[in-house]
């Protein structure tokens, strides 16, 4: 890796690398991040061996990429230049792919994705409905390049935006461009990024800092993880441009500890960029200096909050402090500090490259560009999707997400994770943008999108989120430390069948007050899941309280398992599996379940192949 000493050198290198990239070349793109958990390593090894065996080593590039997005179908592999898309493959399938696709240039039918409506196999990645409806700006490189190779990034216009900024734009012009783009922070609150940069630029301070918030604490979201794993340089370049605009010589990336691959990739990116003179002192021969350090989180959701994050970097308990002063005035070590989310930074290079007006032409009036969502829960196509702002929930869930598994009915979507709220089916036409979501009582949040179906109990859901936020409360302020605790206790009572109607009044009294009085965003948003479920699913609460019944069949205290003698074949699987020996019966005869012994562990329910165990 050679150091680049001038702006022209990086532009020249980009040209060379991009021209050297033969679009007709055979390439195998394997996701080695998310799919790793599904055996991607073995598949890569199989490809390597097979390619060697067939003497194709010089003809085929084996690319270890980041996430392709379609995690539900992991492990996935794509073959270029044809654009074949293979899913849920195993090492055993590799010889056939190599033979048929790499050598003969044809798709392997049986490994293709089946179109859910037509039932036809879909050969090409671009025709898979999951991909077709997306618009990839932030994820443009994810799944396309080897994230550990800086050359791959540069070949796809990487570091050209930096070169442009350094050669032809003043810091004010950069900020102007970001303001024009209308980009709003992707970390949750949606604060206009350009304005935030302006504050930090105008703040007085001998040193300023840039922090990239990669704490991604929302349990059920993995957008930032995918970006860092799949395209770390775009984040780094975004930070560089921000540093130039604000005048910050130092930066930190604060990464969630549970993301080892992301940590490795961003560290490699920093080292490589440094070696090439794209980071460090006298970047590309200019007077611009910027150093980046990686800090790993230590397991505290609240450290995603900016002042807590700062405390954590400083080596203290991650407890938020009261604002003002805002970090832009007094942040890390008391110096002006600009904090942005991973996805926010990743948007910057394309904005600079193509211009703020281009970006502002995408999305809605007040929410520009695209947003990545992590689709999960009761949905067929679990995975990562990037869509233009303003798209309806319905299109995300049904066109891209492929609907609800098992023919079940959609019940609600939770946006914004534990700080967000649920959106019921009556609002499926809601355009997804900051303001519509807030108006519906939810929030955009960082992009977690959890889908629930008729078998999800919304009271249990609210309890789940509150359990999480309660256990993550830093403990500093009363409304959050004690208020959310009391709300949780009430929800516990309701789900255990000992709730009273007056509990609902207490919830309605506490929730808005906690929002209004908590010190930081954690406490201020903790009541949201309760408020929205109360708003949209009040009947379900009432059923728990008045009828002592959980309509979704989830709350343990309110349900019983029973064996339907008509359906039971007497196979005995449940009898053997029950840890309590609560099930008895002779082989091939209907079994019975002793309620007195049953602890409602749901093992029998899950094990029965004939759906003979019913929840009543």
């Amino acid at each position: 890796m050679e150091r680049l000493f001038s702006i022209e050198e990086v532009q020249r290198l980009q040209k060379t690398l991009s021209e050297a990239r033969n679009p007709q070349r055979l390439r195998v793109r394997i996701c080695m991040t998310g799919c790793r958990a599904y055996g991607a390593v073995e598949i890569r090894d199989a490809f390597k061996a097979m390619i060697d065996e067939k003497g194709l080593t010089t003809k085929v590039d084996l690319l270890e990429t980041g996430c392709h997005g379609f995690c539900a179908r992991a492990p996935v592999v794509a073959i270029d230049p044809h654009g074949f898309f293979y899913q849920q493959i195993s090492p055993r399938d590799v010889p056939q792919i190599v033979q048929t696709s790499l050598i003969e240039g044809k798709p392997v039918e049986k490994l293709l994705y089946t179109h859910p409506q037509t039932g036809e196999p879909v050969a090409l990645e671009k025709d898979v409905p999951f991909y077709r409806e997306q618009m990839k700006i932030v994820l443009r490189n994810c799944g396309q390049i080897d994230p550990t190779r800086i050359e791959d990034y540069i070949a796809r216009d990487g570091y050209l935006p930096l070169a442009k900024v350094l050669s032809s734009m003043s810091p004010e012009e950069v900020i102007g461009e970001v303001v024009r783009s209308g980009l709003r922070g992707r970390g949750g609150a949606g604060f206009p990024t350009g304005n935030k940069w302006k504050f930090a630029r105008n703040a007085q301070g001998d040193v300023k800092y840039i922090i990239c918030n990669a704490d991604e604490g929302d349990p059920g979201a993995f957008m930032d993880r995918a970006v860092l794993e799949g395209d770390p340089h775009t984040v780094l370049e975004g930070m560089l441009i921000a540093a130039y605009a604000i005048g910050a010589p130092k930066g930190y990336v604060y990464v969630r500890a549970e993301y080892p691959i992301a940590v490795t990739h961003i560290k490699k990116a920093v080292a490589d960029a440094k070696a090439m003179g794209l980071l460090g002192q006298k970047i590309l021969g200019t007077h611009f200096n910027f150093e980046v350090k990686i800090k790993e989180g230590a397991g505290a959701f609240v450290c995603g909050e900016e002042t807590a994050l700062i405390a954590s970097i400083e080596g203290r308990r991650g407890m938020p402090r009261t604002r003002p002063p805002f970090p832009a005035i007094a942040g890390l070590w008391g110096k002006p500090t600009n904090i942005n989310n991973v996805e926010t930074f990743a948007n910057i290079p394309p904005i600079i490259h193509k211009g703020g007006s281009w970006y502002a032409s995408l999305g809605t009036e007040k929410s520009k560009g695209t947003k990545i969502f992590a689709l999960a829960g009761k949905i067929n196509n679990t995975g990562l999707v990037e869509v233009p702002m303003g798209i309806t929930l319905e299109r995300i869930i049904f066109d891209i997400g492929g609907g609800i598994p098992g023919g079940k009915k959609f019940k609600a979507a939770q946006t914004g994770g534990p700080s967000g709220g649920c959106i019921p089916s009556s609002l499926l036409n809601l355009p997804i943008d900051y303001d519509s979501l807030t108006a519906a009582g939810a929030i955009m949040g960082s992009g977690g999108l959890i889908i629930t179906d008729e078998n999800t109990c919304m009271v249990d859901m609210a309890k789940f989120f509150l359990t999480f936020t309660q256990s993550e409360s830093c403990g500093r302020c009363v409304p959050c430390r004690l208020g959310t605790k009391r709300m949780l206790e009430i929800l516990q009572r309701i789900t255990e069948g000992t709730g009273e109607l007056s509990d609902l009044e207490t919830l309605k009294e506490l929730a808005p007050m906690i929002k209004d009085t908590s010190l930081c965003g954690l406490g201020q948003t903790t009541p949201n899941p309760v408020l929205t479920t109360l708003n949209y699913f009040l009947d379900e609460y009432k059923a728990h309280i008045e009828e002592k019944r959980c309509p979704a069949g989830v709350c343990k205290a309110l349900i019983r398992y029973q064996i339907d003698p008509e359906t039971c074949t007497g196979c005995g699987v449940c009898r053997k599996a029950c840890p309590q020996k609560a099930i008895s019966g002779k082989a091939k005869e209907p079994h019975t379940l002793d309620q007195a012994l049953c602890i409602k562990c749901a093992i029998c329910y899950n094990e029965c192949k004939f759906d003979a165990i019913k929840i009543i």
């Binding site: 308990r317 002063p325 830093c474 500093r476 430390r481 605790k485 206790e489 009294e509 009085t517």
Partner: protein, 352 residues
């Protein structure tokens, strides 16, 4: 400092621009309740009792930390504010023992006063409460964390003013607790027993062991005095009952120490009532002490000193002055040494 104008409860007021809303309100004569606030410490803004409404702000803000700005409009007693404060109080009380009848702090407890003002006898909202054991493991400070409202005052004063950094929060959320490492006794920590934490604890979580069961706050006769241990001259307040010192407190508004004290001033008063304490001069004869009058004793000292000076010269005499004396007393003593006794051998125990 530049002055700015703002309005509090529709009243215009001019204050220095580095003021908080709370300071401005004080100046305007508007009372805002506080629990965790202490002007000399960095605000933690945890108790949320001082909430006020600032026009245009998304949520309520804490007066104790919110900086004033030109033209802002603050409302301190709107329905929204009063309701919020009341609910915050109810939440605090929902995890409080409410044993004011036997609590040492009754009568000087900020929580009790506030509950009284709001007419709260407890909380409508019930739930789990803490049951920590009472900590009687050291001779000076009783720690009852069931009463702690986590106002952080003790931690902040120990860090920021005392500099001992003996205590901090441990754990988080509902389980947050002020603690020395490993939840041990203060005696096994960096604590110097200055009692600063006790002096700022707004509730009955930290109290002086010496006062346990010795009387109610309003029964104590408060005698302001100067500490006799050293020359700093801290102002102390002796809390007396039936002629006996029950504890020593301090006054954050008074004296050169602004309420700060060390272990000696705060806890070192047992000698006052000690039966071993000298109350009249004693003269040793044939190995035994006998009582004497002041005149006799002083004559005896004078003649003794004279004898030494005549026989061995003035330099045979040395004078040790004391940190327990005032500057004036020490000045006079060295004057006597130099002018009357003729010796320069003057020293001070603080040098030893």
């Amino acid at each position: 400092m530049n002055e700015i104008k703002l309005s509090i409860d529709n009243r215009e007021i001019t204050v220095p621009q580095n003021f908080t809303v709370l300071q401005a309100a004080e100046r305007a004569g508007v009372k805002i309740p506080t629990l965790c606030h202490l002007q000399e410490l960095t605000p933690c803004s945890g108790c949320r009792i001082c909430l006020v409404e600032v026009e245009g702000a998304r949520s309520l803000v804490t007066a104790c930390s919110y900086p004033v700005a030109a033209g802002i409009k603050v409302k301190t007693h709107t329905e929204r504010v009063l309701k919020a404060r009341r609910l915050v109080m109810e939440l605090i009380l929902s995890d409080h023992p409410l044993d004011c009848m036997t609590c040492e702090k009754t009568g000087s407890c900020k929580l009790q006063d506030l509950a009284y003002e709001m007419g709260l006898t407890g909380s409508r909202i019930k739930g789990e409460q803490h049951h920590y054991p009472l900590d009687l493991s050291n001779p000076f400070i009783v720690r009852d964390y069931n009463k702690c409202i986590l106002c952080e005052r003790c931690i902040r004063i120990c860090d920021e003013i005392q500099g001992s950094m003996a205590i901090d929060y441990a754990h988080r959320g509902f389980n947050t607790k002020v603690s020395v490492p490993y939840h041990r006794s203060l005696t096994e920590s960096d604590c110097v027993f200055c009692g600063q934490c006790v002096s700022v604890c707004p509730v009955g979580a930290l109290t002086e062991r010496s006062r346990m069961g010795k009387g109610r706050e309003w029964e104590f006769q408060k005698v302001k005095t100067i500490c006799s241990y050293c020359g700093v001259g801290c102002t102390l307040v002796l809390n007396m009952k039936d002629g006996e010192i029950v504890r020593v407190t301090s006054d954050r508004e008074a004296g050169i120490n602004h309420g700060n004290m060390c272990v000696k001033g705060r806890f070192g008063f047992d000698y006052v009532h000690s039966p071993d304490r000298l109350t009249e001069p004693l003269i040793k004869e044939n190995g035994n002490f006998r009582k004497a009058s002041w005149d006799e004793a002083l004559d005896r000292v004078a003649s003794g000193l004279k004898k030494v000076k005549e026989k061995h010269g003035p330099d045979a005499i040395g004078v040790l002055v004391s940190a327990k004396c005032t500057n004036e007393e020490n000045y006079l003593l060295q004057k006597m040494a130099r002018a009357a006794l003729g010796t320069n051998n003057v020293d001070h125990c603080a040098r030893l």
